[in-house]
Every structure is written in structure tokens, then in C-alpha cells.
């Protein structure tokens, strides 16, 4: 399992991030290649979610640079908005627009941000909802759906923008156990289709079978990076060994 092409898509260089006096990202260097699936794991509070959120600058950084597709991330305004539209994001708590139907959630971005014709956007939205297996829920409101269905709708919403990369911030952590599988299936399909993905998760099974690379984070630092087979069999760092012994023994 190696990336299809070695061309870097996301490049973080010396990124530091503070929340007040808390140093949540410490001198982070990370390159994600086109088509690569990177899974970020680590104990809570290690900065995984923050790492995910700085990539499209939902969180500003204090120092360092982030480049996406060859361009440095703009700090503010329309250029930043345009760049964000090329990076799909899926949240732990789904964050579907509560006042819109599932279909409207998926068409809103293409119509309002990309100025696509609503008929075309609708057609593609229905195809995407079909792809994630909830075409029959298109006219319902988010609150009427199960967590797994909401998360799949959120993935369809992100895909509707035809993103160059997808960021997943603990996409299954808020789900009932029986719904985790349906969301991971959609993500595995995406990975197989060559989507560039950064996935923050506690799903070690997904990391094992879908990731090209596993990154272990602790205390705001990238402690260890390796191919999944190697990482899970022979973690090099003490922190990773300790973490794995706690999550894999159950």
C-alpha cells in the first residue's frame, strides 16, 4: 500500500498553535500526498482534532505555514473561503444544517458557493445520497435521521463540492456502535476510489485496512509515523506502545 503519486497535496511546515497558554500543536511537519489516506490516532487532548481543523484554517495557527495544492493558505476572506471549498470536512457532531432538508444540505454549497445551476446540483446531490445509501431520506430534516444516516449525509454534503481532499474529525465518535460500520464503509469506499484523506479516529480497524500511513500524536507532536501493519506490530515509541496496549487489549 503506497500512494498512487508522490505529489504532495497538503504540506504543514513548522506549525505551532496555542490555546491561551496551552501549546496544542508543537512544530508540526506533515506532508500528505495526493491520493494518500492518513489516519491520525492518539490519546484525547493530543491535538488530533486541532491538526484536522488547522488544515482548512477553521483554527488559525500561530506560526509555521500550511500549503494546499501548491498554494499557501490565505489568512482571511474570499481567497480562504475559496480554498476551503476545495477541502471537504466531516465533523464528529455531523453539523448538518438543522433548518434544511438533507437534499438542501447537499445542494447548498454547490449552488451558493460554486454558483452551479440548482437542477444540476440537485441531480448530483441525489446521486451522492444514493452512493452513501440514504437517497430515500433526501426530503427529511437532519433531526429525523439516525446518527449514522446524518454522518453519511454530511459526507455527501462535503463530496458535493468535488473536494481535492477530505478531512474527517472523529467521524464515528458520536455514533451508536451499530452505526459505526455504515459510516466506515462509505469512508473505505472513498479511500479505495483514490480520495486524499486525513482521518482523525479511534477506529483501529479502519486504520489497519484503509490507511496508507498511521500518525501517532501525543502532546501536540507527531510522535511516530508508519505504515499501519508496521505501526500496529512494532510501534517504535514508548508513548505509542503504551497507547496501543490500552486500546487494543479490549
Amino acid at each position: 500500500m503506497t500512494a498512487q503519486s508522490g505529489e504532495p497535496l497538503i504540506v504543514l511546515d513548522g506549525v505551532d498553535k496555542w490555546f491561551g497558554s496551552l501549546h496544542v500543536l508543537r512544530d508540526v511537519h506533515l506532508t500528505v500526498d495526493r491520493g494518500e489516506v492518513v489516519v491520525v490516532i492518539g490519546p484525547s487532548g493530543s491535538g488530533k482534532s486541532t491538526l484536522c481543523r488547522v488544515i482548512n484554517r477553521l483554527e488559525p495557527i500561530d506560526s509555521g505555514t500550511i500549503r494546499f495544492d501548491g498554494r499557501t493558505l490565505p489568512a482571511e476572506g474570499r481567497p480562504l473561503a475559496r480554498l476551503r471549498s476545495e477541502v471537504g470536512m466531516v465533523f464528529q457532531s455531523f453539523n448538518l444544517f438543522a433548518h434544511k432538508t438533507v437534499l438542501q444540505n447537499v445542494t447548498l454549497g454547490p449552488v451558493k458557493v460554486r454558483r452551479e445551476r440548482s437542477a444540476a446540483a440537485r441531480e448530483r446531490a441525489l446521486a451522492l445520497l444514493d452512493r452513501v445509501g440514504i437517497a430515500d431520506q433526501a426530503d427529511k430534516y437532519p433531526a429525523q435521521l439516525s446518527g449514522g444516516q446524518q454522518q453519511r449525509a454530511a459526507i455527501a454534503r462535503a463530496l458535493a463540492m468535488r473536494p481535492k481532499a477530505m478531512l474527517f474529525d472523529e467521524p464515528t465518535s458520536a455514533l451508536d456502535p451499530e452505526m459505526v460500520g455504515e459510516v466506515l464503509d462509505v469512508m473505505t469506499g472513498l479511500a479505495r476510489d483514490g480520495m486524499t484523506m486525513v482521518v482523525v479516529t479511534h477506529e483501529m480497524g479502519f486504520a489497519r485496512h484503509a490507511a496508507n500511513r498511521v500518525i501517532f500524536m501525543a502532546d501536540g507532536q507527531l510522535v511516530e509515523q508508519a505504515e499501519p501493519a508496521q505501526f500496529f506490530a512494532n510501534p517504535r515509541s514508548e508513548r505509542a506502545r503504551d497507547f496501543l496496549s490500552k486500546v487494543l487489549t479490549h
Binding site: N56, L58, R84, M89, A98, K112, A143, A158
Partner: protein, 225 residues
């Protein structure tokens, strides 16, 4: 009830309440639109806009409405020459009154909308920004529709207060209900209590259903989470 059996008295009674409704309607629409704009300013990242919104709320929310209405007449009209109608003084005074009522009420609408914005989970704005929406789009398409729908019931209270506040426009010569009531009481000293009860009762009859209507709307429009 000899007072209201006189057709002339009935006519001024009716036209006085019609004026209340017109003042409330016109000022209400303007205050709603402008209040939402003020709220958008107060949460915007532009310091000048934020400062303007804050200043507006602090000035108009904390000034007695009577003073604001007086200012509209003596300040805007008499001193600064702001005129809405040259040949119809009643129409001119009506719109001066609407100006004062709207400026005052917009401050309350703004603060209500702002508290509505706080009911919208931060994740909603995160998702909108992640899709590539600008600040304006995020506010207009995602945050404000949810925020305003969560404050429909308080909007009802603001509208009810506005209808009663409209009586203050009587102080600049608009023949609304309170000034007509005073006139009728002056002319009919033997029927003070009945006249008062009719005018008060009319307000109650108009505003109690308004309260229930907004309660019903609030339930209907609530965003399910």
C-alpha cells in the same frame, strides 16, 4: 355609552386605532430589517461595524422613547429640515413618528437576534465555513435563519411593546388612540371610566391574540435539533 353612539366619536376612535396599526406595521417592518442588520454588524469581524452596532443599541435602548420622538420632530424636522411630506403635515408627522419608533425598536430587535445567534451551535457555522462560504453567506444562509426562528416568541413581545409605544407618537400631533382618548375624556367628563375601558379594552383585544399568534408561530418555526 352615549359617547360612542355619536358617529363622529366612533369615527375618530376607529381612525385612532387604525393609526396605531399603521405606526406599528411600518415601524415594525423597518425595525425588524434594520435590527437584523444591526445584529449582523455586532457579530461581524469589522471593528467599525461592530462599534456602530454597539453604539446604536446603547444610545437608543437607553433613551426614553418620548425623547426620541421629540427629537424626531424638533431635531430632525424643525431643526435639520428632514421632511417626509411638504403638503401633508399629518403624513409628515406620521413618518417622523415611525422613524423614532423604528430606531428605538431596532435596538431591541438587534439584541434579541444576537441572543438568538447564541442558540445556534458553533458547529453550524464551522460546517458553513468548511464548505467555503464567506462570513456574509454563513450568516445569511445558515446562522440568521436559525437564530431568528429561535426568537419568534420574544419578537412577539417586542411587537406588542411597539404597538403600545406607538401611543407616544401622539405627543407630536398624530391623532392616535391615546390622544383621541384624552380628547374624548376632555369633552365628556361624565364618561371617563367607560371611555378608558373602551380604549384599554381595544388594546387588550388586539394584543392578546398577537401574543398567542407568536407563541404558535414560535412552535411551528422552531428548528428541530
Amino acid at each position: 355609552m352615549h359617547v360612542f353612539s355619536d358617529p363622529a366619536n366612533r369615527a375618530v376612535y376607529l381612525s385612532s386605532f387604525l393609526l396605531i396599526l399603521k405606526l406599528t406595521g411600518a415601524a415594525g417592518v423597518i425595525a425588524l430589517v434594520f435590527g437584523v442588520v444591526l445584529a449582523a454588524m455586532r457579530v461581524s469581524p469589522v471593528p467599525v461595524l461592530r462599534g456602530f452596532g454597539t453604539a446604536w443599541v446603547n444610545v437608543f435602548r437607553n433613551t426614553p422613547l418620548t425623547l426620541i420622538i421629540f427629537f424626531c420632530y424638533f431635531g430632525l424636522f424643525v431643526n435639520l429640515g428632514v421632511t417626509y411630506s411638504d403638503d401633508d403635515i399629518d403624513l409628515n408627522n406620521f413618518w417622523l413618528g415611525v422613524t423614532g419608533l423604528a430606531a428605538y425598536t431596532a435596538a431591541f430587535v438587534c439584541e434579541t437576534v444576537r441572543s438568538g445567534i447564541n442558540t445556534v451551535p458553533a458547529g453550524q457555522a464551522d460546517a458553513a465555513r468548511a464548505l467555503g462560504m464567506t462570513f456574509g453567506q454563513t450568516l445569511r444562509l445558515v446562522v440568521l435563519p436559525q437564530a431568528t426562528r429561535s426568537v419568534v416568541a420574544p419578537f412577539g413581545s417586542i411587537l406588542i411593546a411597539l404597538a403600545k409605544n406607538a401611543t407616544i407618537v401622539g405627543t407630536i400631533g398624530v391623532l392616535e388612540s391615546a390622544s383621541v382618548m384624552r380628547q374624548l375624556i376632555n369633552d365628556n367628563g361624565d364618561a371617563v371610566i367607560p371611555i378608558f375601558l373602551v380604549f384599554a379594552g381595544t388594546f387588550v383585544a388586539l394584543l392578546v391574540p398577537t401574543g398567542y399568534l407568536f407563541g404558535w408561530l414560535a412552535k411551528r418555526l422552531a428548528v428541530r435539533r
